[in-house]
């Protein structure tokens, strides 16, 4: 299902449109981070993951764990787009009885690899899946999203140590560095400093890119896959709320739904 860069960019834009519509419809949810991560997420699912949307339980599939579960509107959209489930599910997001919970609930039929929402646990879980591949002599790779705010949790760094210690080269972290969390800019609330240097110091292969450069996203995923003997971290510099001027870089849009007026602006700027 490999796509051209232009096609990927168009899909990522559709993902952003869907994120805004879902959160607007539910009148709750998280747009900002999901929008900053939309490009890498699209590149991963369309051009990299060894995955069969018609068989989401295939044992040899590559796995993706959304460690920062609040960014699930993007993941749900991609899973619907590639055909794991019907797109109409997206409009029941966060409603009573919907399988599309406000934060992901483990459901392999829907392609949801892990229950997340409590920050900073997914890196460990994904490491566990990678270790299991080793035990079972399987070739699959395990990707996880990590975020700047979420990586203030100590458990992230415990897991970073483990992945390097066990030389998990089937393990790749997609780090979304938008420098925003709930209470403001990360650099003001709790500065993470150089995330690249931190992962390097832990023994990871580090690739730094502009997370909104689709070619760079694809190239980084290719490079990571070739690395031997080390886990890989792709650190993407991104913009929270990317694509909508009134959302961009505003911590308010980490988790506040758009007003009708903001929704209209978003649809216009996203060309919908």
């Amino acid at each position: 299902m490999s796509k051209s860069i232009q096609e990927l960019q168009d899909i990522a834009n559709e993902v952003r449109v869907s994120i805004v519509k879902m959160v607007h419809t539910a009148n709750s949810g998280h747009m900002g981070g999901a929008m900053s991560f939309a490009d890498m997420l699209t590149a991963l699912f369309y051009n990299k993951l060894n995955y069969d949307p018609k068989n989401p339980k295939w044992e040899d599939r590559d796995r993706f764990v959304l460690s920062s579960g609040h960014m699930c509107a993007g993941l749900y959209t991609i899973l619907a787009k590639i055909g794991v489930f019907d797109e109409k599910e997206l409009w029941n997001f966060r409603q009573l009885g919907s399988p599309l919970q406000g934060h992901p609930k483990y459901n392999l039929d829907l392609g949801i690899e892990m229950s997340t929402g409590s920050l900073g646990q997914g890196l460990s879980v994904a490491n566990g899946m990678a270790l299991a591949a080793r035990v079972q002599n399987k070739k699959y790779r395990v990707y996880s999203l990590e975020t700047d705010g979420g990586s203030q949790e100590g458990m992230v760094w415990e897991a970073a140590m483990l992945a390097a210690h066990y030389k998990l080269d089937n393990r790749c972290v997609l780090f979304d560095y938008n420098n925003v969390q709930i209470d403001g800019f990360c650099s003001d609330v709790m500065d993470l400093g150089s995330v690249a240097d931190k992962f390097k110091a832990f023994g990871w292969h580090v690739i730094e890119i502009d997370g909104h450069d689709m070619q760079a996203c694809c190239d980084a995923l290719d490079e990571a896959e070739k690395v031997k003997g080390k886990p890989q971290a792709i650190i993407s510099k991104t913009t929270l709320g990317k694509g909508v001027s009134v959302f961009e870089n505003k911590s308010k849009f980490h988790g506040t739904p758009p007003t009708d007026e903001e929704f209209a602006i978003a649809m216009k700027e996203l060309g919908n």
Partner: protein, 312 residues
């Protein structure tokens, strides 16, 4: 005029007011100061406010150090992360040395709403109650919240205050004064006694009115303190009523109902039905729908009580 605001809102305002008269108070948060309302204190006393980022274990450890160096520390984050993620640091670094840390956690229970199970703590009362010496308090409204905070600042040692996201309707008058470990009788009846706590207190009172119409006379007792629990009041109520109920926005495992059971089994065996979350995770939906779904609204409580009585 009634004071209908969320208990987290009352907490944030009262905390800032206490900051004026109590220079020893330090406040800490873990990237949720807008939601927990500690940002009001932060604005007024930035030099006595610390945000640790998204790091609840670090929050508890740091708070312990500040408290053991002479301060009264109020720490806030969501209830599931304060009590769940950071449970062992709370036990080891706060409770064991009796550090003067007040864990005031918001977004407890299912009234979190759309965020769903990952963010809805239905186990926090159980977790905190299990720690030796930890006081566990659950205010029903804004007035009770503020009075409990007056108590907390003048009472050294660790305590857990369970606060909510959703607006609560007033239950207590402005002159209500919280007394350590004491429950409050809100309504006198003769047939059944409904023990309740926190957000569902108002709905329980309203359910009692409904029950009256159906010929069941119900007392309502608000148990603001889960630990210590008002054993004398429980025994007195058990002596006066045929059937007892507990109503809580928490798991029936390890919550108010369990605490009452522990008193009854040793002091006054009686029949108690525990209404609450029946050993389940929560889920996403607007909170009003969830309260209905779990039958913890006025109608649902009355229906459950009548159902249990009919099956006796």
């Amino acid at each position: 005029m009634s004071l209908d605001i969320a208990t987290r809102e009352a907490y944030g305002k009262k905390l800032a007011a206490l900051g004026e008269t109590h220079p020893e108070i330090v406040v800490m948060d873990a990237d949720l100061s807008g939601s927990t309302k500690t940002n009001i204190f932060k604005k007024q006393f930035p030099e006595r406010f610390f945000n640790v980022g998204v790091a609840e274990q670090n929050l508890m450890g740091t708070a312990a150090g500040i408290a053991l160096s002479g301060h009264t520390v109020f720490v806030s984050t969501f209830a599931i992360f304060a009590t769940g993620r950071a449970w062992e640091p709370v036990r080891q670094s706060i409770a064991y040395p009796k550090a003067n840390v007040k864990i005031c956690a918001t977004h407890a229970g299912i009234t979190v709403g759309e965020d769903g199970a990952s963010h809805q703590s239905v186990e926090d009362i159980a977790l905190m109650s299990a720690i030796p010496g930890m006081k566990v308090m659950v205010p029903a409204d804004a007035h009770q919240t503020m009075s409990m905070m007056d108590y907390l600042v003048k009472t050294p040692g660790p305590a857990y205050l369970r606060l909510g996201r959703a607006t609560t309707q007033q239950v207590f008058d402005a002159d209500y004064v919280y007394e350590e470990g004491k429950g409050a009788v809100l309504r006198d009846g003769t047939d059944v006694c409904l023990f309740t706590t926190g957000f569902v207190t108002k709905a329980t009172l309203d359910a009692a009115t409904r029950l009256e119409e159906k010929g069941v006379s119900a007392s309502v007792v608000c148990m603001g303190s889960i630990k210590p629990i008002d054993a004398d009041l429980i025994v007195a109520m058990a002596s006066k009523h045929k059937v007892l109920f507990s109503v809580e926005e928490h798991s029936v495992v390890g919550g108010l109902g369990a605490a009452i059971s522990e008193v009854l089994t040793s002091q006054k065996p009686a029949r108690l039905f525990r209404l609450g979350i029946q050993d389940a995770f929560g889920q996403s939906a607007p909170y009003q729908e969830l309260i209905k779904h779990y039958e913890l609204d006025e109608e649902g409580i009355a229906r459950q009580v009548l159902g249990k009585l009919a099956a006796l």
